[in-house]
Amino acid sequence: MSDTPSTSSHGHGPFIAAIDQGTTSSRCIVFDKDGRIVSVDQKEHEQIFPKPGWVEHDAAEIWANVQQVVAGAVAKAGVTADDVKAIGITNQRETTLLWDKHTGEPVHNAIVWQDTRTDALCKELGRNVGQDRFRRETGLPLASYFAGPKIRWLLDNVEGLRERAERGDILFGTMDSWVIWNLTGGVNGGVHVTDVTNASRTLLMNLHTLEWDDKILQSIGIPAEVLPEIKSSAEVYGLAAGGTLAGVPVASALGDQQAALFGQTCFSQGEAKSTYGTGTFMLMNTGNQPVNSYNGLLTTVGYRIGDQDAVYALEGSIAVTGSLVQWMRDQMGLINSAAEIETLASTVEDNGGAYFVPAFSGLFAPYWRSDARGVIAGLTRYVTKAHIARAVLEATAWQTREITDAMTKDSGVELTALKVDGGMTSNNLLMQTISDFLDAPVVRPMVAETTCLGAAYAAGLAVGFWSSTDELRANWRRAAEWTPRMDAATRDREYKSWLKAVERSMGWLDDDTVEE
């Protein structure tokens, strides 16, 4: 986005700057005291694919881009470092970097969360226990997304790295740590820290003590010397040492999904947000206790403000949502633009009996069946492309319902309303369908940039720019609300049919099936 909303009544400083170091781009947004956007700057970085399934980023390019977008956003806002009271950070989670603490140079490209090179390593680490070996301590299954196994891979595969790491010459960080270390001076006294939310995605932090778990470090084979200090999500880590915002406190860090939870002001137990993009991430605040999941969800830290108790969350993700609409556009050619899915789906009253289970790479939460593949069930001569378009939207809504049900089972808390954000919230029919299937209101906030807003909020709290979470709540504005219109009998009948379709997607792959 090169243009920024710039209407008359922005109010004057002071401001908070939020940096979002994301998977495809780095952005900086300047917010005013009401939480309104003053300016935005954004720059994409290269996606490096060295082999199938491998995804890397050049961390030096990312740091250069971060400096550039901070300068850009501050210039567009027409403010100076004096007007900016704090810098907040949010970031793509789990992406892993090791760098030399004396030169500041990365020892290898960052390994991105989507990268699957540690699949085999994770299986090996599971030994006879399987992927839940560290779940009790960390809340996570042993899967290739998380940072711990990626560190191990780097130590094993970059020549001489393990020795350098054991000597204390190497630092590990997720992208929050990399940005903070560089912002606060890098080789000249940069602070080596991470926040509890990012640390909770490494498979190395104990959720109960919020400290690195020595036993797991030993099991995975990671020297403690490389690890950053775990801090809260909202406190002053240090001051920016140079650049456009020299002297401004660096005062928050949150993983992107946790930042969205914070930006949506889900500060009470049972409040949940769902971000609808290419995939979908739903987080529910479960209060000050980590809730074990027996229904395929992840347990993670939601946020921690200063020395207050940590707030935990349950997380469920849907692998294929916006990307299913893109598939309808690019692979099937049934629509010309993503928005047209609503136009096509609106030409019919219902799904005509068709159900679409987009298990393109297996079923995720709450099933975790890698042997499943996509199906369209219930086809008859009557079904048209419009019915399929409707089934596409319903697939996202039903999967939201399944995750919500799992969260209710695990936490014992009934969802009262779902706060939504992300690109797909412009799809009115989808939002209405989600409300119908959940039998709960769906609410869209007035600021679409909830991720950056969350980082700004946390930084602002740390420096006293905002007094309390209550004040932040008062800033939250409802832009739209969809309320359920479906009768219970129809909902139950449809849900049953959906579950039957899900059943049919399972077990497609077997030992005889060779993929690709």
Binding site: M1, D3, P5, S6, T7, S8, S9, D34, R36, I37, N336, S337, A338, A339, E340, I341, E342, T343, G423, T425, S426, N427, N428, M446, V447, A448, R477, R478, A479, A480, E481, W482
Partner: protein, 254 residues
């Protein structure tokens, strides 16, 4: 027989020659095929190229049909696309004006609401997407009538019933209001549709400068107006929003 325009006939012949599959032809092929001098043919090709109906391959210098021809047959803007593009800007308009925001398009003889942002005051409000508003009395409708000839001809067939004592019902008075709308680039409805309610709207254009919809705010007349006229900062915010959405759709600055 009615008089025809020769240069248009020649242009049509050129297009027909280039039509069908992946045909690329050089200038001399085209001029000899339609039996015209190279200079004349080149003039026709250059004009068609300027309009986007013909493209010239930079490497070979040969001509082929242009992308604009495809768009001609497939030109309407999907309203859901319009909403997706307007989302950020309409949210910001609601915040800056403190009023509810509506985005409307022409549908039959009324304004179809395709997007609605709540007034940012936490009061209970109901989403009005899909509702129809009158074309002749609302600010959204007047903008459509002023800029879109189709809306203008539709509204001519509508019985302009008085909805309030302020509704403009006379044909001349209505045309004067549309002229004023075109002259200043925005329309107002001060208690002409609903008692106690005022609204302000401005046009949204696509990349070919075609009017595709209108966007505006609606609120209590006491807040929207001051001393009987619409507050200038509200007009400015509405017009900023309409320009931003138009820019997002590819319209140039204006």
């Amino acid at each position: 027989m009615a008089r025809t325009i020769q240069s248009l006939e020649r242009a049509a012949a050129v297009l027909r020659l280039l039509a069908g599959g992946e045909r690329r032809l050089g200038l001399s092929d085209i001029s000899s095929a339609i039996g015209l001098a190279k200079g004349t043919t080149h003039g026709i090709l250059r004009t068609l190229q300027q309009e986007g109906f013909v493209e010239q391959d930079p490497a070979s210098g040969r001509y082929q049909l242009g992308a604009e021809l495809l768009r001609l047959g497939n030109s309407y803007l999907d309203v859901h696309e319009l909403r997706a593009r307007a989302l950020v800007w309409t949210d910001d308009l609601a915040r800056s004006s403190g009023e509810s925001v509506y985005l409307g398009v022409l549908h039959q003889q009324g304004v179809l609401i395709v997007h609605h942002v709540f007034r940012p005051d936490d009061s209970r409000q109901v989403l009005e997407v899909g509702a129809m508003h009158p074309l002749y009395s609302t600010a959204l409708g007047k903008v459509l009538c002023a800029y879109d000839p189709v809306a203008h001809s539709e509204v001519a067939e509508v019985e302009r019933e008085p909805l309030t004592p302020h509704t403009v019902t006379g044909a001349d008075a209505f045309e004067t209001a549309l002229e004023l709308t075109r002259a200043r680039g925005w329309a107002a409805d001060v208690e002409e549709t609903w008692e106690g309610v005022a609204s302000v709207a401005a046009p949204v254009h696509d990349r070919r400068r075609m009017p595709v919809g209108s966007v505006g705010i609606t609120g209590a007349v006491e807040r929207v107006c001051q001393d009987g006229v619409v507050r200038p900062e509200i007009v400015a915010a509405v017009r900023d929003c309409a320009r931003a959405v138009s820019r997002d759709l590819g319209a140039g600055r204006f």
